[in-house]
């Protein structure tokens, strides 16, 4: 059984943040470079950025660093790829969304609701014998929540794959504050 644990402590995983032109076929080009080398993409999130001409693809991949360097160089050769950054999990902020429908009889429902509240998740829908909940947060937190939900019997589950941005370093944060005051 596969585990979803790709928490930030996991040594082999890498997060690539790839800025691409928002055009048909770009995702196929990007994923093809991993596929032809036999690498599995662990998770993938794609959406337009603040500039609608560009999309950001966040790829989590389990590859050793040396072959990854070659893939990154090859990715950069794609005409539609504008920028690539590898995000160090310790120096980036990561978020993911989980939605799950849990089978739970009415008398036990309160336990799931409580669990969801503890994690600061949301109740999306309630049925007689099932409840759909969602949670967004760091991938570690999502892992824990999923693990606990499993005890109740998950009917359906969907995770988005992580999205990530580099953390502002202390200096940049302070600069931003100063700048904010000045303007």
């Amino acid at each position: 059984m596969s585990t979803n644990s790709y928490a930030s402590s996991h040594p082999a995983h890498h997060i690539l943040s790839v800025l691409v032109q928002n055009r048909p076929g770009v995702l196929a080009r990007v994923s093809g470079l991993f596929a032809r080398r036999g690498y599995n993409i662990f998770s993938l999130a794609v959406a337009p950025t603040e500039d609608p001409m560009l999309s950001r693809i966040t790829i989590v991949v389990d590859v050793e660093s040396a072959p990854l360097e070659q893939v990154v160089k090859q990715l950069f050769k794609l005409v539609d790829v504008v920028k690539i950054s590898e995000l160090d999990p310790r120096r980036s902020v990561e978020r993911e969304l989980l939605m799950a429908t849990v089978r739970v009889p009415a008398e036990d429902r309160a336990q799931v609701v409580e669990l969801t509240n503890i994690f600061e998740g949301k109740i999306l829908a309630v049925g007689v014998e099932a409840i759909t909940v969602s949670l967004d947060g760091s991938p570690d937190k999502i892992d824990d929540f999923e693990e606990l939900l499993r005890g109740y019997g998950i009917v359906e589950l969907q995770r988005t794959g992580r999205v990530a941005l580099p953390k502002l370093d202390k200096e940049a944060r302070l600069k931003a504050v100063k700048h904010g005051k000045a303007s």
Binding site: P24, G25, A28, R29, K73, Q74, K77, K83
Partner: protein
């Protein structure tokens, strides 16, 4: 004044504005609209007999002219027939534009007649490809395609044009350079090398005791042959030219060691192995060059100049990586070396190294046992005679296999852009169509295609194209009635268990076949017939000539570094083996 024209008219006009003088192609259903305005265009169209031929012709044209070759074919099977030449051009960094027809936009995805996912299929064998969904996009896409194919590391670009996009009317607009660059925010090839790296390279070159210049195909792509020569002479350092770089440095130059690699000569292989500095220029440490990577040139520091950043460190970690155009970088390195020398620095004395290298050259010339009267004809002898009889400036094309290696070994390439072959992909059948493309690109030159009997049977029908289109080439078939290189491996590594490598000496009858395609056919069976046949072939220039040489099937290509072997363990010709100790 806005002018409405069809997408097809826009396509042809755009190709004219990109200075295309020739298209190699074959029409069909979906590309039909583009063939109508072609009738009114000054562009010459060469009608091939198989789409693969169009692709290799475009490659041959690009090889000898440096301008992108253009191939145009229809959808479905025509597009899949282009996959081999596209991959070939991609591996050897040949600038090429391929235009394919596609089913109408409304039919895409319905499994329509002659539909295939062309951009999907060709994605990994092109530098870039595009499905054009609107006639208005055609001029910009064509300009982008030529820009991408010819800049940075060159390569093939494919444009897929649905039939209705060709038929629809559009408002003509020819985009400016700025519009083209702005439309490609992710494409910024680096051409100028990093100044600090260049200085470091210059110093390292002066400090080296056993340097070798390792010149690859990038020298030719960057038009850097003159710069390479200036550098080699400035630092008085021997040069090896890879299979893709034959002609980039003249074979008759005293510093030229010729080809290294799996079938390179012992001197070139050993000089790289023993060097303390490999000045790598537009080469990529291919497995055919390095042999077993772990034992390749173990004491050498590496300067690696390549326009493609992904080549840096792909196989061998460089000590000084320089991303940039070979010509510009070499010129900068020359300048930096001169600055150091003018500042009083001295180059290390490399005379001991050079005399060691010349020792190897004396001991290990290319060798084959000469023809005894009545014995089978030696293929190497045929090539030497072809070389000696060839008019000045002859362009040599080859297929893939033993004949290719002998061509590279025995020819004397003294001029760049006179050698056309399929190096990376190793495409059998490349020779005849590539030679036709080369002759179209350089009609002033004699073009010889050296081919094997196996290769020739893959694409020979393009000689019909050559006859009809009046493109006279010369073909030398080295007929040993075997898939010779495979036979050689079975002999050497599979205990002479010959499996499916025997063709036939009599079938087909190459002379009759040549004649049926409008060529002159000549058969040569003994050494004394060789020279007269070549003379006759060289004297005919109004049609193509096919000379079939019936050669010794037992002849093998030496030296050889078998796959997975270290270059230290190069196999010499058995008659030279007693001198092995000199290879130290």
């Amino acid at each position: 004044m806005t002018q409405k024209i069809t997408g097809a008219q826009a396509l042809i006009r755009a190709l004219e504005l990109e200075n295309v003088d020739t298209i190699f192609g074959l029409p069909g259903g979906c590309i039909l609209p583009a063939y109508d305005p072609l009738l009114d265009s000054p562009i010459r169209h060469i009608l091939v007999r198989h789409e693969q031929g169009a692709g290799h012709m475009a490659e041959g044209y690009a090889h000898v002219t440096g301008r992108p070759g253009v191939a145009m074919v229809t959808s479905g099977p025509a597009a899949t027939n282009m996959v081999t030449p596209l991959c070939d051009a991609f591996m050897d960094s040949i600038p090429m534009i391929c235009i394919t027809g596609q089913v109408p936009t409304t039919a895409i995805g319905t499994d329509a007649f002659q539909e295939c996912d062309t951009v999907g299929i060709t994605r990994s064998v092109t530098k870039h490809n595009e499905l054009i969904m609107s006639a208005d996009d055609i001029p910009l896409m064509v300009r982008q395609a030529f820009h991408i194919a010819t800049t940075g590391r060159p390569g093939p670009v494919l444009l897929d044009l649905p039939k209705d996009v060709l038929q629809n009317s559009m408002t003509w607009h020819w985009p400016s350079d700025k519009e083209v660059l702005d439309s490609l925010p992710g494409y910024k090839p680096v051409s100028k090398g990093h100044p600090r790296m260049i200085k470091e390279a210059a110093r390292m070159i002066l400090d080296a005791k056993q340097p070798i210049l390792y010149a690859g195909g990038g020298i030719l792509k960057a038009r850097a042959a003159d710069a390479l020569r200036e550098l080699a002479e400035l630092i008085d350092t021997p040069v090896v030219t890879t299979l893709m770089a034959r002609g980039a440095f003249p074979d008759d130059h005293p510093l030229c060691l010729g080809m290294p690699g799996m079938h390179g000569n012992a001197t070139a292989i050993t000089a790289m192995q023993k060097s303390d500095l490999l000045i790598t220029l537009g080469a990529r440490f291919d497995d055919r060059i390095t042999g077993k990577v772990a034992t390749f040139a173990p004491d050498a520091k590496i300067i690696h100049v390549d326009i493609d950043p992904a080549e840096q460190g792909k196989v061998r970690r460089p000590d000084v990586p320089i991303v940039g155009d070979c010509r510009l970088v070499i010129e900068e390195i020359i300048k930096a070396i001169k600055d150091l020398l003018n500042g009083g620095e001295k180059q290390q004395d490399i005379s001991a190294w050079k005399s060691r290298v010349s020792g190897w050259r004396e001991q290990f010339p290319l060798y084959y046992p000469t023809n005894e009267p009545g014995e089978a004809l030696k293929p190497q002898y045929c090539l030497e005679q072809l070389r000696d009889g060839a008019p000045e400036g002859t362009i040599l094309c080859s297929g893939v296999g033993q004949h290719q290696m002998w061509s590279s070994q025995y020819w004397k390439f003294n001029e760049p852009y006179t050698w056309v072959n399929s190096g990376g992909l190793g495409t059998m059948g490349f020779s005849v169509p590539a030679a036709i493309g080369a002759k179209v690109g350089r009609p002033d030159r004699t073009v010889w295609a050296v081919d094997g009997d196996g290769c020739f049977q893959m694409t020979a029908q393009e000689l019909v194209t050559a006859s009809v289109e009046r493109i006279p080439i010369k073909v030398a078939i080295l007929n040993n009635s075997y898939l010779g290189m495979v036979r050689q491996w079975q002999e050497m590594f599979y205990e002479e268990r010959y499996s499916e490598v025997y063709l036939s000496p009599e079938l087909p009858d190459f002379v009759k076949w040549a004649e049926s395609m409008g060529c002159i056919g000549i058969r040569v069976e003994s050494p004394e017939e060789v020279q007269p046949a070549i003379e006759k072939a060289n004297s005919i220039d109004d049609r193509s000539v096919v000379v079939e040489f019936r050669v010794d099937a037992g002849e093998k290509v030496f030296p050889m570094v078998p796959a997975g072997f270290s270059n230290d363990d190069v196999l010499l010709h058995p008659d030279q083996n007693n001198r092995r100790e000199f290879l130290r």
